[in-house]
Amino acid sequence: MRNCSRVCLLVLCAVGSACTHGKKKDDKPAVAAPRVVATPPAKVEDSKDPWLSGTLPASEMQGEPRSGGDLTVGLSTDPPSLNTYTDSDLVASWITGHRIYQSLVNIDPLDDPEYRVVPELAERWEISPDNKTYTFHLRKGVQWHDGQPFTSRDVIATMDKIQDPTTKAVHVRAYTQELASYSAPDDYTVVFVWKRPYFLTLDTIADWSIQPAHVIAKLTGHQYNDAATNPLNRAPVGTGPFKFVTWESNAKIVIARNDKYWGKKPYLERVLFRIQQDPTVMLQLAERGEIDLVDHMTTDEWVHLNDSPLRNAWNRSKFFSANYGFIGWNLLRPMFADKRVRRALTMLIDRPGIVDKMLHGMPMPTTCHFYWKSPSCDEGLQPLPYDPIAGAKLLDEAGWKDSDNDGVRDKAGVPFRFVFMLPAGAVEGHLWAAKLKEDFDHVGIEMEIQTVEWSAFTKRLTEHTFDACTLAWGGGPRGDPTQIWHSSSIKGGSNYISYKNPQVDKLLEEARVTFDASARDAMYRKFGAILQDDQPYTFLFVRPELNMLSKKIKGARPSLMWWQFENMWLEPQAK
């Protein structure tokens, strides 16, 4: 479980493993998300029973918010540090992002599915007509949790640390390569100048937590990295609605309401994150009322609880976030170079059967690279049907026939044999891969399943030394597919399957500098249609995020940006 959630941080996630999160939002350039095409096969009993369907009842949002009380959240991993610049960690970014630390701007977490950019530490901003210069006017009267005033010096100090080549902020620094300069003309103004216009600039800035200059400015890069010299790594000081209280390694992290917060103060007194790696124990703690929110359950746990008496005291939330699983065909291999073969393979895979029979009907089919609810996805784009007969016919057409009668199709002396690479630990993946092998066998395709350790897996991906593999991408509300689909990303990027389509390249380049959202969506929809036709991936499904919340929690709403403790309050419960 621990390893698994680690893997999820990769954004790339092993399909079929127990991972459900992949919504790290600072991955814009890398990733995006998909759109449902067919409505998920809603079961009759599901739609009626909120416990089974995982919809939070509307009554949970009603009532008079009450101040006070502690909320305990169960988490499965302890973050390496609470400084997301020294350690790229999903849990750390959940706990600190826009909660302890704040950024110049925020992505409105409750604005589903648009997730528009809203002011945070910057009251307002101006963008120059050439879309290269961004001028931010900072909020006045904001205080750090330790009482110091917040000014533009803090922004500059933070940027200095990101750009300092000796800090461990490499994962953030990559996004600043397009930054030509940054400066602070006065205490409450910051100016960013970019080398090129880019539509995700504000989203990028929303990810940069501003840290206090009075703590970090005097530190060298090495001192900044080291928990012994940088107090922020274990005890963050921010400007947000919650302030850090305590952290006991591998046991708990406590944050409390910031009573001097400049904005709307949270209702909750404290939020306690309880770190519990064992999912069984997590459920026992939930049963005893020692945890109020169980975050990211596995499908098996979810199904297991369908008839549990827990339903009397708990609500469940099933939320399809921005992620999708897929099978990638390495286009460098002769058999996968032909689009007809790839379409045939997709049609040979019984995706509805896999979802229904093997995955408890939980995942949702998709054909889209972006967040499934975003307008960048074309709702009308249906997955290719499961049709083995048509698939076999397509293979014949493409010239893959069994000419030597050995039971395996061949073309020009090359038999249709390939290795399907799976990351170790992808339990569900193994389940359906076995079925895939059998189905392919019936039509004369020989597939060998190979399990590879994660580090070896990623190495083979980047070296393009695999035949076919399965993986998942996760992302935020908006995404730039360049990193995954542009031909320039074959080397050094994430275009592992070596997909090269000049039309797609051109569309993606144009979209990067298109600031009109609807025009950009149109381009991305066109891009989606090309992908559907080319089938370089067999798109599989979107996995739901499964959570369980005590009924005493009110005001909770699932979001791509995790839970908003700022809006939650607790209802006293008669026991």
Partner: protein
């Protein structure tokens, strides 16, 4: 005697090197990559920069040949410059200082309890040899010995701590024992000293029992054997012939002499005191040395693993030396060193 001790201590140095070297090579052979584990994100790291990986590799000495890496580890160990834990950058000294007392508490309680219970049991079995009580006790102890701790611990949690079977209506959730940890999850720091003591004691019951019950069989068998042998000695017959009460014969003369094997066993328990009990610690979520070591191995965090291994190895060797010396102390007939040469 002194010469013997010095020689033994000097022998420890090459032994220690051998142990750390084997341990290091085993970790190397596992071929795991702590950098990708640390970055947690080989994919993104790759997109971003190979230089970051190179930096981290250099930081951990992973870019150097194995003998240089090992040499650095030994050097740091010898100068006691232990460095920081890779997982979260905390000083290794702090990490151990946090975990060690918990482990010590757990194992000291368990060892004390084991001795307190198994010595009388052993004496009883020896004095009443082949009686019904002895036979029943033997069977029960061997059954206990055969029950795996992970199963017993899990059963304890399900039946005693879940609140679904054994119910204690006076607690908030009807559960008789806590599920996890060695102290209350919230509010422990605010408790008074006595409340803290009570809270820790309450949390320790199930882990200590789980850790202890298997030791009963071994220790009481040793005790029984030692006692039986002593009871056959001439001086016991003499004592009885003197007309001493059976009570004085057994507790005054026989018990003291038959304690030798048991006492020397204490020396061998020493490493167990600090190495922690991985299974019990993970079942009950007690963050002692066992879990720290386990996490370090998973990474693998070379400096931390080597530190813990070296620490434990030193204690094992000291323990062995101690038990050899104890032999000599308890039994003056054994003259360490002189006889062996």
């Amino acid at each position: 005697m002194l010469k013997y001790v010095v020689r033994r201590v000097l022998w420890m140095i090459p032994t220690l090197f051998g142990i750390t070297l084997v341990c290091f090579l085993l970790l190397r052979m596992a071929n795991a990559d702590p950098v990708s584990a640390k970055l947690q994100n080989p994919m993104r790291a790759q997109q971003i920069s190979q230089e970051a990986i190179a930096q981290l590799r250099a930081l951990y000495d992973l870019d150097k040949p194995w003998y240089v890496q090992y040499g650095r580890l030994v050097q740091r160990l010898c100068t006691l410059d232990l460095g920081t834990r890779w997982q979260d950058g905390r000083p290794i000294v702090d990490v151990i200082a946090e975990a060690l007392p918990i482990t010590l508490l757990l194992s000291l309680l368990s060892i004390t309890l084991a001795y307190l219970i198994s010595i009388p049991l052993g004496v009883y079995s020896a004095v009443k040899q082949y009686s019904l009580g002895d036979r029943v006790l033997t069977v029960v102890l061997f059954v206990l010995y055969s029950l795996p701790a992970f199963w017993v611990g899990t059963m304890f949690i399900v039946f005693l701590a879940s609140g679904n079977f054994l119910k204690c209506p006076w607690t908030a959730d009807h559960a008789c024992f806590p599920l996890q940890g060695w102290h209350a999850f919230d509010g422990f720091a605010a408790m008074s000293r006595w409340q803290k003591l009570g809270d820790v004691a309450w949390h320790m019951v199930l882990p200590v029992v789980t850790l202890t019950y298997q030791a009963f069989a071994v220790l009481s068998r040793y005790m029984r054997a030692g006692m039986l042998e002593t009871l056959r000695q001439d001086f016991i017959r003499t004592a009885r012939a003197k007309g001493l009460s059976e009570r004085r014969v057994i507790f005054g003369h026989a018990l003291r002499n038959s304690l030798i094997p048991i006492i020397t066993l204490i020396g061998l328990e020493l490493p167990e005191l600090v190495s922690g009990a991985v299974i019990v610690e993970s079942i009950f979520g007690i963050r002692g040395m066992g879990l720290v070591a386990l996490e370090a191995i998973r990474m693998p965090d070379y400096p931390l693993v080597i530190t813990i291994v070296a620490f434990t190895a030193v204690l094992v060797m000291l323990g062995m030396l101690l038990s050899d010396l104890l032999y000599a102390v308890v039994d003056p007939r054994i003259k360490a060193g002189e006889e062996s040469r």
